[in-house]
């Protein structure tokens, strides 16, 4: 019984003279190879050339600073409790007088670590964040040789004041609309 109608019955018959030469078959193969030289390439030269990413690609996290360059994160722990992979840990500290230009509120995260090997890049942390401090960006997490280096601390996560990272594609229309309305804001 045939499962499909594509099965071919193999007939073992004597090859003709032309077939014994193998030349037409070789030329046929060459033709396919040469034709591919002029086709569009399926690969890209990665570091020089980059594929377009989805607008909602979720990669390397960033801890955002506010307009005045102060850290937005207050170590409230909601990202860590929302994290299904339990990748986030933090230690909070109290802001001292004179540090008002560094931290936005009286509490801040003195240690904030994400284990990039545990992280599944689901984006629940940015959804949980009440301070718009953490966002996932379209940057890739670098490869490395040692496991320990994948625990990213604040040095790798916090945005540099001179190199702001645009996260507006990550904010939905509703969020941007909400932000316009000062009335709803509970913090300054």
């Amino acid at each position: 019984m045939n499962l499909t109608n594509r099965s071919v019955v193999v007939v073992k018959k004597e090859m003709t003279f032309l077939e014994k030469l193998y030349l037409p078959a070789i030329l046929g193969g060459m033709w396919i190879t040469i034709r591919h030289l002029f086709k569009k390439k399926a690969t890209v030269n990665y570091p020089e050339e980059k594929r377009p990413m989805s607008k909602t690609f979720r990669g390397h996290h960033v801890l955002k600073l506010d307009e005045q360059g102060r850290e937005r994160c207050t170590a409230c722990g909601l990202c860590a409790v929302a994290c299904p992979a339990e990748a986030i840990t933090m230690v909070s500290a109290e802001r001292k007088p004179g540090e008002e230009h560094l931290y936005r509120e009286e509490k801040y995260a003195s240690v904030y670590e994400i284990n990039m090997l545990r992280c599944i890049f689901c984006g629940d942390c940015e959804e949980a964040c009440p301070k718009e401090a953490i966002f996932l960006t379209d940057r890739l997490v670098d490869a490395d040789y040692k496991r320990g280096t994948f625990v990213y601390g604040k040095d790798k996560l916090t945005e540099k004041p001179d190199k702001p990272i645009d996260v507006s594609p990550r904010q939905t229309k509703e969020v941007l609309e909400f932000k316009k309305n000062k009335k709803f804001a509970h913090n300054n």
């Binding site: 207050t74 170590a75 409230c76 722990g77 909601l78 860590a80 409790v81 339990e86 909070s92 500290a93 109290e94 509120e105 009286e106 509490k107 009440p130 301070k131 009335k183 709803f184 509970h186 913090n187």
Partner: protein, 342 residues
């Protein structure tokens, strides 16, 4: 004994029981929330109005309904009384209004507040409140004060429930703090910034339903849901020494009283509340000081039990699953659902 009907459920309670306590005896979703009433503190209750209920029939003798919602913590039951709580949409609307009033001046700084996760106002707002505020004016603000070496007073968060005043009155002889001023500018104060150093003054932190009074020795140490609560005891000269310790690893970050299902202090077998002294609360922060009895019972719906799976709840889950599967032809195999494996 008077019979009272709350949300279509009838219960017989002793003479003089309040509606709130009758509902608590019944349990379930009909129990009104309470922000200022605290069963272990005499004369508490009657300030916050969150426990309001609708009385549709006053009693058997006088069946007229009460004209306005009444505070269930201050109204005793009458024989034949009919009370509506969650079955009355009007009442829920009224309660949402009360919550809105309580939140008018509340700063909503939950991300930095140490009370977050075990805050009654958070629960109340979540269950009975509205998502948005209509308030347009500047919120009432106060400076933070250290009252004594152990307690931080964050008056901005206070809802003036007077529970801490009752603690000062009833547990601490020679009280030094109370509520001064009136109305919008009323505040909890020590008047002259006198240190509170009474042995039992630390219980103020536990009775505070919001984050107005917080433990300075625990300030910003950890979020409550990253710590694991354990019931523990120790020998203490001044108090019963039965407390709840909050562990992170083997480190005791905080010591509080044991709380019951209503968020109030637990009682011993004779009915006396298990208040703890400042020595136990602030000075015994080594795990070796305590004899641990076992993990505390925390509601599964609380964020404190998030990511914690204790044996009791797991067993409960298994029992529930088994009940579901009863009578169905299912191969139970190796798993815990098979009764032969336990």
């Amino acid at each position: 004994m008077p019979k009272v009907t709350i949300d279509n459920q009838t219960i017989e309670v002793p003479e003089g029981t309040t509606i709130l306590n009758a509902a608590r005896m019944m349990g379930g979703p009909s129990v009104p929330p309470a922000m200022c009433y605290y069963s272990s503190l005499k004369t508490s209750g009657g300030y916050c109005r969150t426990c309001i209920v609708k009385v549709t029939k006053g009693s058997e003798k006088d069946p007229r309904p009460m004209p306005k919602p009444v505070a269930s913590c201050r109204t005793s039951v009458m024989d034949g009384m009919v009370v509506e709580n969650i079955t009355s949409p009007d009442l829920l609307e009224a309660r949402a209004g009360v919550v809105e009033f309580l939140l008018i001046n509340h700063p909503l700084d939950c991300p930095i507040c140490d009370q977050a996760g075990e805050c009654h106002l958070q629960d109340l707002g979540y269950e009975n409140g509205k998502a948005l505020t209509r308030y347009k004016f500047r919120r009432r603000t106060f400076e933070k004060i250290d009252i004594g070496p152990y307690i931080k007073l964050h008056m901005t968060r206070c809802i003036l429930c007077y529970r801490c005043v009752k603690v000062a009155e009833q547990l601490c002889p020679g009280r030094v703090h109370g509520v001064i001023n009136r109305g919008d500018v009323a505040e909890i104060s020590t008047y002259i910034t006198e240190a509170i150093d009474n042995e039992f003054s630390g219980n103020m932190i536990d009775v505070c339903p919001v984050g107005a009074l917080t433990d300075r020795t625990f300030r910003f140490k950890s979020r409550v849901w990253f710590t694991k609560p354990m019931d523990a005891h120790r020998k203490c000269k001044t108090c019963a020494g039965k407390a709840r310790i909050w562990l992170k690893g083997s480190e005791v970050l905080r010591v509080t009283v044991r709380k019951d299902e209503w968020g109030e202090v637990q009682r011993d077998s004779e009915g006396g509340p298990l208040w703890i002294c400042n020595e136990c609360r602030f000075h015994t922060k080594k795990a070796s000081d305590w004899i641990i009895e076992g993990p505390s019972e925390i509601s599964r719906h609380s964020v404190i039990s998030a990511n914690h799976y204790d044996l009791a709840t797991l067993k409960l889950d298994v029992a529930k699953q088994r009940k579901k599967l009863e009578g169905k032809k299912v191969l139970l195999g190796e798993g815990p659902l098979n009764p032969n494996n336990v």
